[in-house]
């Protein structure tokens, strides 16, 4: 990661106005901002690391911990709130045993709240990675995890089948 960032930085002019675009570019590639990354940005722009950290923490967009492989976002915009978005969020939290903003121990899932994803007509809304799930219900949350489990088992079976196939060839 450090090497990759070191390779990215020269493309950005050493200009204060580039601070946020640089942080966005790093997060885009590495999905979060590590302490080391922020120090490198500070050095590149010739400002203090505290200054970089101060700016990064001001904005909701930046994360300082790697998110899960699957990111679940629950909308708590006005329309979704009125339609019971909070209950949906709680269902995800309960199912995964984590709180909003956290990631499961196996780094499979993270849950976060977002405000208005622009599909209020489908409220309450949740996002699974980039898929928008409209008109959510607690039972749909349940169903989603059943689906995940089936998918996981399928992949496992395929893996086993592949491996045994490889062994047979050997």
């Amino acid at each position: 990661m450090v090497q990759d960032i070191a390779a990215m930085l020269p493309a950005f002019e050493r200009h204060r106005g580039n601070l946020i675009p640089i942080l966005q570019a790093i997060q885009e590639r590495h999905s979060y901002l590590s302490g080391a990354a922020m120090k490198m940005v500070a050095k590149h722009l010739g400002i203090g690391p505290g200054e970089v950290y101060g700016v990064a923490t001001f904005y909701n967009q930046f994360r300082f911990q790697p998110p899960g492989r699957h990111r679940i976002k629950v909308c708590l915009g006005t329309a979704c709130h009125v339609a019971g978005g909070e209950i949906i969020l709680e269902n995800f939290e309960r199912k995964l045993g984590i709180k909003d903003g956290e990631t499961t121990a196996d780094r499979e899932y993270s849950v976060e709240r977002v405000v208005c994803v622009g599909c209020c007509a489908l409220a309450p809304v949740a996002l699974l990675d980039d898929d928008v799930l409209g008109r959510m219900l607690p039972s749909k949350v349940e169903g989603l995890f059943v689906q995940f489990e089936i998918e996981r088992q399928r992949q496992e079976r395929e893996k086993v089948a592949r491996e045994s196939g490889e062994q047979a060839r050997d």
């Binding site: 204060r16 106005g17 580039n18 601070l19 946020i20 675009p21 942080l23 966005q24 101060g54 700016v55 001001f58 904005y59 909701n60 967009q61 930046f62 708590l76 915009g77 006005t78 329309a79 709130h81 009125v82 339609a83 019971g84 209950i87 709680e90 269902n91 309960r94 199912k95 977002v114 405000v115 208005c116 994803v117 622009g118 599909c119 209020c120 007509a121 489908l122 409220a123 809304v125 928008v132 409209g134 219900l137 607690p138 039972s139 949350v141 349940e142």
Partner: protein
């Protein structure tokens, strides 16, 4: 550079656009327009498109698929318009076109000429064959200026916009003096659509007065209101109208640099605008020496990183400068000293998108729409408990009642109207007695709400006003940048008080405390965020005081919304013996079987999600919700049941 030379250059571009449009028409093959903006995609428009493509190639039918932006009818997504000239029918709009319906349409309509009436929303043009959508109140009461072409053109094809007259206003502006343009906008009476309603022409002339030979024009597409998506839809559906407006603004105020500030949470909008800038540059409609004139305009996109306060213009400027987005003291105003110390004009997406038509049709034409003090139209995203949610553009001065009940179809499920929230976290909730309020900047402010940036949430009798106030305070408290003490700590206190009221721990003096603290926060804050943060509290106190009192004195939530103050129970008289539906849907296994083989709810485990109420078969309708929770009869879990549940877990 004189008018003729600019015209000559533009005419050749315009010809090319017309040639392409003509070519499409001459091909005489069916065109399928699919709404592919965020709400369309969320409803499955991508699968619909795929199904069309597959069915067409399977049947070997020639047709053109054009992805378009939002038509505003989010309730009917995925929306598809099919123009099939050979069939003799006008272009027809279809609603809820799933992949299955798409296949049927290809077979029945495109192949056999039967337009499948049961999927039809209406014809896009008047005809005797199919009722026209123009006769629906949704269409006939709307007046579209800003959203005129949204949903009718491919946002990625600049020529489609040009063929409809796009960029001709810019060509005209380039042949005039900046002062003339500013004068035109002043006479049109256009006021900023970003919330405050500041006269756009006046803002421009102030910026012009402090010209330094390199002013900056910024389009504010930060749209931080958690319930509004107007600006994003415009960016996704017709970015060129906005860019044309931005270029007109830049020319008038003497800017050589323009920035579109879009929230990074709007990835589709960001990409669409970036592509649009590129294609406008290729045709010399943006960039250096526009249409051969000496006017250079460098346009870029800045992705905002998710802070509500950055919608405020001085905070927005700070964030482009790579700093924490904290509002600054004004004066100096951005028009004197803005981004990098240069005079800067910040205008909202809708303000800028209104400009091309004003230039083309004149200031007095614009003045004639809307009201005397607020000319033009207003665009709202109307959501919540209405039958037809979506984006609506109406003339200013239209009443709230017309908008909610006629244009958007009123309240569904036989519920009654309770309140409408306008202006998001800075606005307020208006009750039924205000439904005849005309929608314009001044009337709404007088009523205690605010135009805001276009968010409108309609609430029925099941919404709790205290809970809504708490929701907005939770939002502003998190979004306060922390600069002013009253905003930082005051909103926290307001939230704490509202929290305890909704939990049933409200105190007698709380209403008084909320009112005085709200006034203090208004007075003690620098920017609009703090100054308006108490509005949701103040308006709900003013119009729904009885609800506060029920929460505080009776520990009761009249709307049965606040979860600490409600309980669910199962009416044993109605519950059907042996039915297990509710047990299966309960996410926390709080439902048990009584000795009589009926069901009971364990109040200690119940999380009050309401699933059992929805799941209980209509003919039994046995689940009851009550407030205060003490009203629920106590049904004990039989001891053996408890054991068996324990055994399973």
């Amino acid at each position: 550079m004189n008018k003729q030379e600019i015209d000559a250059r533009f005419v050749s571009i315009r010809r090319e656009a017309e040639r392409r449009a003509e070519h499409r028409k001459r091909e005489a093959i069916p065109t399928i327009y699919i709404v592919m903006s965020t709400c369309g995609l969320a409803s499955g428009a991508a699968e619909t498109k795929h199904a069309f493509e597959e069915a067409l190639s399977h049947k070997g039918i020639q047709a053109r698929i054009v992805p378009v932006g939002c038509l505003g009818h989010c309730y009917a997504e995925p929306l598809v318009v099919i123009d099939h000239p050979a069939s003799g029918f006008p272009p027809i709009c279809y609603h809820q076109v799933s992949a299955g319906r798409a296949r049927v349409l290809v077979g029945s309509y495109l192949e056999e000429g039967d337009p499948v009436l049961e999927y039809v929303l209406g014809a896009m043009e008047r005809s005797d064959l199919i009722p026209s959508v123009m006769d629906f109140p949704r269409f006939s009461l709307e007046q579209r200026l800003v959203m005129e072409h949204c949903g009718h053109i491919d946002p990625d094809d600049i020529y489609q916009y040009i063929a409809l007259g796009g960029y001709s206003a810019l060509a005209r502006v380039l042949a005039s003096e900046p002062a003339e343009i500013i004068h035109l906008i002043e006479t049109s009476g256009l006021r900023g659509r970003g919330g405050a309603g500041f006269p756009t022409g006046r803002k421009w002339s102030l910026a012009r007065a402090s010209e330094t030979g390199g002013n900056i024009a910024i389009c504010n597409a930060d749209e931080g209101d958690p319930g509004a998506y107007v600006d994003r839809t415009i960016l996704e559906s017709n970015p060129h109208q906005l860019l044309e407006g931005l270029a007109i603004c830049a020319y008038a105020v003497g800017a050589t640099q323009a920035i579109v500030y879009v929230r990074a949470e709007y990835p589709l909008a960001v990409q669409t605008v970036k592509r649009a800038i590129r294609s406008a540059k290729e045709l010399s409609l943006l960039g250096p020496g526009i249409l051969g004139t000496p006017f250079d305009l460098e346009v870029s996109v800045f992705e905002g990183s998710g802070a509500f306060v950055c919608g405020e213009e001085t905070a927005l400027i700070r964030s482009i400068e790579g700093r924490r987005g904290m509002p600054q003291h004004r004066p100096p105003y951005p028009v004197e000293k803005g981004l990098w110390g240069r005079p800067t004009v910040v205008n909202n997406v809708k303000t800028l998108s209104s400009l091309p038509s004003i230039v083309q049709k004149g200031g007095s034409w614009f003045r004639a729409i809307g009201t005397a003090s607020s000319p033009g139209t207003a665009v709202f995203s109307v959501v919540g408990n209405v039958r037809h949610p979506g984006l609506v553009e109406i003339a200013m001065g239209t009443s709230l009642r017309t908008l909610i009940f006629d244009v958007c179809g009123g309240i569904p499920n036989k519920k009654s109207f309770k309140a409408v929230q306008i202006g998001g976290p800075s606005g307020g909730c208006l009750p039924e007695s205000f439904l005849d309020t005309p929608i314009d900047f001044d009337s709404l402010r007088q009523a205690g709400a605010m135009m805001g940036s276009g968010g409108m949430v309609v609430m029925d009798e099941d919404s709790c006003m205290v809970d809504v106030a708490r929701y907005f305070l939770d939002f502003t408290q998190k979004e306060s940048c922390g600069k002013c003490t009253f905003c930082r700590i005051g909103t926290r206190h307001l939230l704490n008080i509202l929290d305890r009221i909704t939990k049933g721990d409200g105190r007698k003096e709380d209403v008084e405390l909320l009112a005085t603290l709200s006034e203090d926060i208004k007075n003690g804050s620098l920017c609009g965020l703090g100054k308006t943060a108490p509005n949701p509290v103040l308006t709900s106190l003013r119009f729904f005081l009885d609800e506060y009192e029920a929460h505080i004195k009776e520990k009761r939530c009249p709307a049965l919304k606040c979860r600490s103050l409600t309980a669910y129970y199962i009416d044993l008289e109605k519950c059907a013996r042996g039915c297990e539906v509710c047990v299966g849907c309960c996410p926390v296994e709080a439902i048990f079987t009584t000795r009589g083989r009926k069901k009971g709810i364990d109040q200690k485990l119940c999380v009050k999600c309401g699933e059992c109420l929805v799941a209980c078969p209509r003919e039994y309708d046995a689940v009851v919700k009550v407030s205060p929770p003490g009203l629920a009869p106590i049904i004990e879990r039989p001891p053996d049941e408890e054991k068996s549940v324990g055994g399973q877990g």
